[in-house]
C-alpha cells in the first residue's frame, strides 16, 4: 500500500517543520479513518523516501505520534496504528457529547429541587451599602501596603485554619469593645465567606434528622442550609421580643441547635430583652443544646448603644457567635467570623483545616489594620448616622402619605424596616406599586416556615441615598394611597 493514497502532502515552503507536517498529516489520516487501527505503517525509510525528507525527520514524526498514542511501535513487527485512538482531540474532531442522566447525591438532588421551586438562586442581587459610601482611599492604601509587603511574607506563612493571627487579634479586641463578647484569639475563626460557617456547624453537630429550632419567620438562607444538610427544622414563633423562648419547653424532642438573631430579629427587627435571653441560655444549658447567635447587623441601632451580645452573657459555653463585615464593608470585603465555644474549638479547627484553609492574606492583613487604626468604628458611626436618616425618610414619607393604613415596626435598628399593610389592599396592587416606583421592598413570605403573613414587607433602604429614597417612597406611597 502506498502512503500517498492518504494524501500526505508536504509543503516545503511552510514555516512548520517537516516532521510536524508529516505527523499532522498522519494524525489526520488516522483520525479520519483513512488509516485503520492496527494497520502497519511503512518503515521509516520508505516513508522518508516517499515524502522526500530525511530519515531522522521521519522518525521524529513517528516518535511524536507514538508519544501521543496514535501509533504503537512493537519490536520486530514495525509500527502499527493504535487500536485505541486519542482521536477525540478537540482541535481535530468535534466532540460528540453523549447526553446523560446524572445521579446526584441526595444533597445535590435537594438543591436542584429547591431551585426548581424557586427557593434558591444561582445569582444574587446585592442590596447593601454602596461602594461609594466606603472610605475607599483608606482601603486602597491598606491594600497597596499589604500587596507590597505581605506577599513576600506569605511564602513562609503556614496558614492557620482559623485565620491570620493579627486579624484575629484585632477583631477580638473589637468584639470585646463593641459587643461585650467573651472571646480570645484561640476561639475566633475567620471565614472567607459567610455560608460555610453554618454548614460546618451543622456538620459537626447534626446528623440526618436531628432537630434544629429556628425563628419563624427567620433567616431563609440559613433555613435552606439546614434543610439541605438533612436537619429537621422546628419553627418557633416570634413576637415583639424576638423568639418566643417559652415554646422551646413544649418541644417533644429538645433541639441540638437553636438558631436565633437576638440583636435584631430577621426580618421583624425585634430585640430580645434581657429576661428572655437568660431563659434561652438556661434552656440551652439544661438541654445540652448549642445556640447559634447570628449577630448579622447589630452595628446599626439608632437609639442608644447596641445591646451586648448573647454570647457575652453565656456562662455555660453554649453559644456559637457569628458576625461578619458584610453589612459594613460589603462589597469590598465579605469576610465572616465565628466565636467558637471552648468545647468545639478542636473540632472546628480540624474541620476548617480540611475544608477551608486559605483566606486571602492581603485582605486579612488589610482588615486587621483597618480595625486597629480605628477606621472600622469610624465607618460604622458614619454609616449609622446615614442609615438613621434613610430610615427616617422612609418612615416619615410612609406615615405622612399612608397614615394608619400601614403599620411600621417600631424597632429602631438594622438595615431594613418591616411594614404591614391593611388588609384592604391586594398584594398584586402593592407589587405593582413596587415595580412602578422601583422601591427596594420585598415580601417576607420567604422568611416563613408556616403560612406567610400577607401584606408584610421589608424595605431595604441602605443602598439608596436619602433624596432619591424620598422620591421613590413618595411615588410608591402615593400610588398606594390612590387605591383607597
Amino acid at each position: 500500500m502506498l502512503i500517498d493514497e492518504f494524501d500526505l502532502t508536504m509543503d516545503a515552503a511552510s514555516t512548520i517543520s517537516a516532521s510536524k507536517q508529516m505527523a499532522d498529516a498522519l494524525k489526520c489520516a488516522i483520525i479520519k479513518g483513512a488509516i485503520r487501527p492496527g494497520f502497519v505503517l511503512p518503515s521509516v525509510r520508505d516513508l522518508a523516501g516517499q515524502l522526500n525528507i530525511s530519515r531522522s525527520t521521519a522518525s521524529r514524526a513517528i516518535e511524536a505520534l507514538s508519544a501521543q498514542g496514535y501509533v504503537v511501535a512493537e519490536r520486530g513487527s514495525g509500527t502499527r496504528v493504535a487500536s485505541h485512538l486519542p482521536g477525540q482531540s478537540q482541535e481535530l474532531l468535534p466532540a460528540s457529547i453523549v447526553a446523560r442522566d446524572v445521579a446526584l447525591s441526595r444533597f445535590g438532588e435537594w438543591l436542584k429541587q429547591r431551585h426548581e421551586i424557586g427557593k434558591t438562586s444561582t445569582k444574587l442581587h446585592y442590596d447593601g451599602p454602596r461602594l461609594r459610601d466606603l472610605p475607599l482611599n483608606i482601603w486602597r492604601d491598606l491594600l497597596v501596603k499589604h500587596c507590597r509587603s505581605t506577599i513576600d511574607e506569605e511564602v513562609s506563612y503556614v496558614p492557620e485554619p482559623f485565620g491570620f493571627p493579627p486579624l484575629r487579634e484585632a477583631y477580638v479586641s473589637y468584639l470585646i469593645r463593641a459587643r461585650a463578647a467573651k472571646v480570645t484569639q484561640e476561639r475566633l475563626a475567620v471565614f472567607a465567606s459567610r455560608n460555610l460557617r453554618l454548614d460546618l456547624i451543622c456538620r459537626l453537630l447534626l446528623d440526618e434528622g436531628d432537630v434544629i429550632a429556628m425563628e419563624d419567620p427567620g433567616f431563609c438562607v440559613g433555613r435552606e442550609q439546614f434543610l439541605a444538610i438533612g436537619a429537621k427544622v422546628v419553627p418557633i414563633d416570634v413576637d415583639g421580643q424576638g423568639m418566643v423562648v417559652e415554646q422551646l419547653e413544649t418541644l417533644a424532642v429538645p433541639p441540638r441547635l437553636i438558631y436565633c438573631t437576638p440583636s435584631h430579629q430577621a426580618p421583624t427587627g425585634a430585640v430580645m430583652p434581657m429576661g428572655r435571653r437568660k431563659k434561652l441560655l438556661d434552656y440551652a444549658a439544661a438541654h445540652d443544646a448549642y445556640i447559634i447567635e447570628d449577630d448579622y447587623d447589630s452595628e446599626f441601632r439608632y437609639d442608644g448603644r447596641p445591646l451586648p451580645c448573647l454570647q457575652g452573657m453565656d456562662t455555660n459555653d453554649r453559644t456559637i457567635y457569628l458576625s461578619c463585615l458584610w453589612t459594613v464593608m460589603a462589597p469590598v470585603s465579605r469576610i465572616g467570623f465565628m466565636v467558637v465555644p471552648e468545647t468545639l474549638v478542636a473540632a472546628m479547627n480540624a474541620a476548617k483545616c480540611l475544608v477551608e484553609r486559605d483566606v486571602s492574606l492581603v485582605e486579612q492583613a488589610a482588615i486587621a489594620d483597618f480595625i486597629n487604626e480605628g477606621h472600622l468604628e469610624k465607618l460604622i458611626r458614619r454609616q449609622r448616622t446615614k442609615h438613621a436618616a434613610q430610615r427616617q425618610v422612609v418612615i416619615n414619607k410612609l406615615e405622612s402619605i399612608l397614615g394608619k393604613s400601614v403599620w411600621i415596626a417600631p424597632e429602631s435598628a438594622g438595615l431594613e424596616v418591616l411594614v404591614r399593610f391593611e388588609t384592604a389592599y391586594h398584594s398584586e396592587q402593592i407589587e405593582n406599586a413596587i415595580a412602578d416606583s422601583g422601591m427596594p421592598m420585598y415580601s417576607t413570605a420567604a422568611y416563613y416556615i408556616s403560612a406567610p403573613r400577607p401584606l408584610e414587607y421589608v424595605i431595604a433602604f441602605a443602598g439608596t441615598d436619602e433624596e432619591e429614597l424620598a422620591l421613590i417612597v413618595e411615588k410608591f406611597a402615593s400610588q398606594i394611597a390612590r387605591l383607597t
Partner: protein, 502 residues
C-alpha cells in the same frame, strides 16, 4: 535551612535594624527554633543581597536583646530560653498550636462531625510535613511576583471596579472565567465554555463541591494508591468509601477497577503526573478509563497536576479533552506559579453538572476576593502565565538533570533505578538496611531535601518504608553534587558502623 526573611520597607529605619526585627519575628513565631543554629552570616547576606557587616550588626543587635547566643568557633544559635515574657509568649503560641489539634472536644459531635474531626486531625498532622515540600514547588526566583504585585496594585483602587463589585456570582468573576476557558482551550484542548468554569477561593472546597454534589454516605470513590492525601481526606470526611486502586507506569489500573464488586461513583486520577510517583497515564489507559467510567456511569475527577512539566516528551491531551461522555470534572490551580499569594483555583464542570454545580457553589462559597480575580484575569490575558511556565520548564529541566546526575553518581548502589517521570520531583527508593529515621536524619543534617511519602498511601501497612520524594525545583545546580555526595558518604558511614550505632 529554608527560612524566608522579609525585610519590611520602613523609611528611616537602618537596614540592620530591619533585618534584626525580621529575625526576631521569625524566632517569636517559632520559625527559628530555640537552641538551633541561626543561618550563617555569609548565606543570609548572600540570599538577601546585603553586606555581611550589616548582617553581623543585626546579629549583634539580637545578641543584645538576648535572643541569640554565639559559641566561639561554632557560630550563632537561637537562645535556649528567651528573655522576659517573650519565652512565655512563644510557649503559649506553640502549645496552643499543639493543643488545638490534640485536644478531644468535650462536645458530643454528630457522627459526621466525628468523621470530620478525626479526618481533619489526621490531615493537620500530615500537613506539618508538607511545607518542606511546598517550598519545592517551582523555583521561587522565577515566581512572577513583580508582575503579580503590579497587577494587584492596579486593582487596589476598588472604586474602579464598581460595576463588578456589586454583582455576586458564586461561580466567579465572568471575565476571569472567560480567560481561564481560553487558557485551558489553548493548553489542554478543553473546549468547554466559560459557563462551565467555576472559580474557588480555597482549593479544598473544590473537592467539597464535587463530593457533596455526587456522593451519598458510603458511596465508592476509586482513588489512586498511592495518592495525594489531602484530596483523599476531604472526600473521606464526607463519608465516602475510599477504595484504593493500584497505579502502574501507565496510570490507574483499569483492570483492577473492573474487578471491583461495586463500581465507583467517582474516580479520582492525576493523569498528567501521578502524585507522587510521577507516572504519566498512557494514551491507551486514558481511553480505557473513559470507556470504563462511561460503562458504569461514574464521574472522573481529573486533577491536572503539574501537566506543564514533562521532560523531553510532548504533553498528552487531558482526559477532559478526550471526554465524549461528558463525565470528566477537570480541576487545576495556580499554586505552582505564585504559591500562596494566589489562592484561586478552578474546576471545569461537565455540561450535565453545570446547574447543580453552581447551586452547590452558591451554597458553599459565594464571595471571592475581588482584586485577586481582577489581577488574575489580566495575568492570564496578558500572557504572563504562559510566559512564566515556559521559563520555569527550561530551568526545571536543568535542575532535574543535575539532580539525576548526582543521584546516579553517588546513590546508584543504595537506591533503585529511577523511572521516567514528569513533575517537579523525583522518587527515590532506598534499598539499604538503615531505618527510615536514620536516613531522614542524615538527609536533614547534610541538607539533602527529601520527604518520606508513606502518608500518600491509604493503608499505611502496605506503604514502602523508604520511598522518598526528592524535589528538584529549588535545587541549586552548582551545589547539588556536593550535597548528594556528602549525604551518600554519611549514609555509607552509617552502614559501616551498623544501624545499632545510632
Amino acid at each position: 535551612m529554608a527560612i524566608v526573611i522579609n525585610l519590611e520597607y520602613k523609611p528611616y529605619v537602618a537596614l540592620y535594624r530591619r533585618l534584626s526585627d525580621a529575625l526576631r519575628k521569625a524566632i517569636l513565631e517559632g520559625r527559628l527554633k530555640l537552641g538551633e543554629p541561626m543561618p550563617s552570616v555569609r548565606d543570609l547576606s548572600k540570599s538577601l543581597k546585603i553586606s555581611s557587616s550589616t548582617t553581623l550588626k543585626a546579629y549583634d543587635d539580637l545578641k543584645k536583646q538576648g535572643l541569640v547566643v554565639s559559641h566561639s568557633g561554632s557560630g550563632t544559635y537561637v537562645a535556649e530560653t528567651l528573655p522576659g515574657d517573650l519565652g512565655d509568649l512563644l510557649q503559649e503560641r506553640l502549645s496552643h498550636m499543639q493543643k488545638s489539634f490534640s485536644a478531644r472536644p468535650d462536645a458530643i459531635l454528630s457522627s459526621r462531625g466525628e468523621l470530620l474531626f478525626e479526618t481533619g486531625k489526621k490531615q493537620s498532622a500530615e500537613h506539618v510535613h508538607v511545607p518542606a515540600l511546598e517550598y519545592g514547588g517551582t523555583p521561587l526566583e522565577l515566581s512572577p511576583v513583580r508582575e503579580w504585585k503590579a497587577l494587584l496594585l492596579k486593582y487596589c483602587d476598588v472604586s474602579q471596579g464598581e460595576e463588578y463589585a456589586e454583582v455576586i456570582e458564586p461561580l466567579g468573576f465572568m471575565p476571569l472565567r472567560e480567560a481561564i476557558a481560553g487558557y485551558v482551550l489553548r493548553r489542554r484542548s478543553i473546549a468547554s465554555g466559560a459557563s462551565n468554569v467555576c472559580i474557588f477561593g480555597s482549593k479544598q472546597l473544590r473537592l467539597e463541591l464535587v463530593g457533596r454534589l455526587l456522593l451519598n454516605n458510603g458511596d465508592i470513590v476509586a482513588y489512586e494508591e498511592p495518592g495525594y492525601p489531602e484530596n483523599r481526606n476531604t472526600l473521606h470526611a464526607l463519608g465516602a468509601t475510599i477504595v484504593p486502586v493500584p497505579v502502574d507506569v501507565d496510570g490507574m489500573s483499569v483492570v483492577h477497577l473492573r474487578k471491583l464488586e461495586h463500581p465507583p461513583k467517582l474516580i479520582c486520577v492525576t493523569p498528567s503526573h501521578h502524585d507522587p510517583l510521577g507516572y504519566v497515564m498512557s494514551m491507551q489507559r486514558r481511553q480505557e478509563l473513559l470507556d470504563y467510567a462511561h460503562e458504569v456511569g461514574a464521574f472522573i475527577l481529573e486533577d491536572d497536576f503539574d501537566y506543564e512539566f514533562r521532560y523531553g516528551k510532548p504533553t498528552l491531551p487531558s482526559l477532559k479533552a478526550l471526554d465524549r461522555y461528558d463525565c470528566v470534572i477537570y480541576m487545576a490551580s495556580f499554586w505552582r506559579i505564585l504559591y500562596k499569594s494566589l489562592r484561586l483555583s478552578f474546576i471545569v464542570l461537565p455540561d450535565c453538572l453545570v446547574t447543580a454545580g453552581s447551586l452547590c457553589k452558591g451554597y458553599l462559597e459565594r464571595h471571592l476576593p475581588l482584586i485577586d480575580q481582577l489581577a488574575l484575569t489580566d495575568f492570564i490575558n496578558e500572557g504572563y502565565l504562559e510566559k512564566h511556565l515556559k521559563r520555569t520548564q527550561r530551568l526545571l529541566a536543568i535542575r532535574r538533570q543535575s539532580l539525576i546526575l548526582a543521584i546516579t553518581r553517588y546513590l546508584k548502589n543504595i537506591t533503585e533505578p529511577l523511572e521516567e517521570t514528569a513533575g517537579t520531583h523525583l522518587m527515590l527508593q532506598f534499598t539499604i538496611p538503615l531505618p527510615p529515621l536514620i536516613i531522614e536524619r542524615i538527609a536533614w543534617n547534610t541538607g539533602f531535601n527529601i520527604m518520606n511519602c508513606h502518608f500518600y498511601y491509604c493503608y499505611l501497612g502496605v506503604a514502602p518504608e523508604k520511598q522518598y520524594i526528592v524535589p528538584f525545583a529549588t535545587v541549586d545546580s552548582d551545589t547539588i553534587d556536593s550535597v548528594v555526595k556528602e549525604f551518600s558518604m554519611a549514609v555509607y558511614k552509617a552502614l559501616e558502623s551498623g544501624p545499632d550505632a545510632h
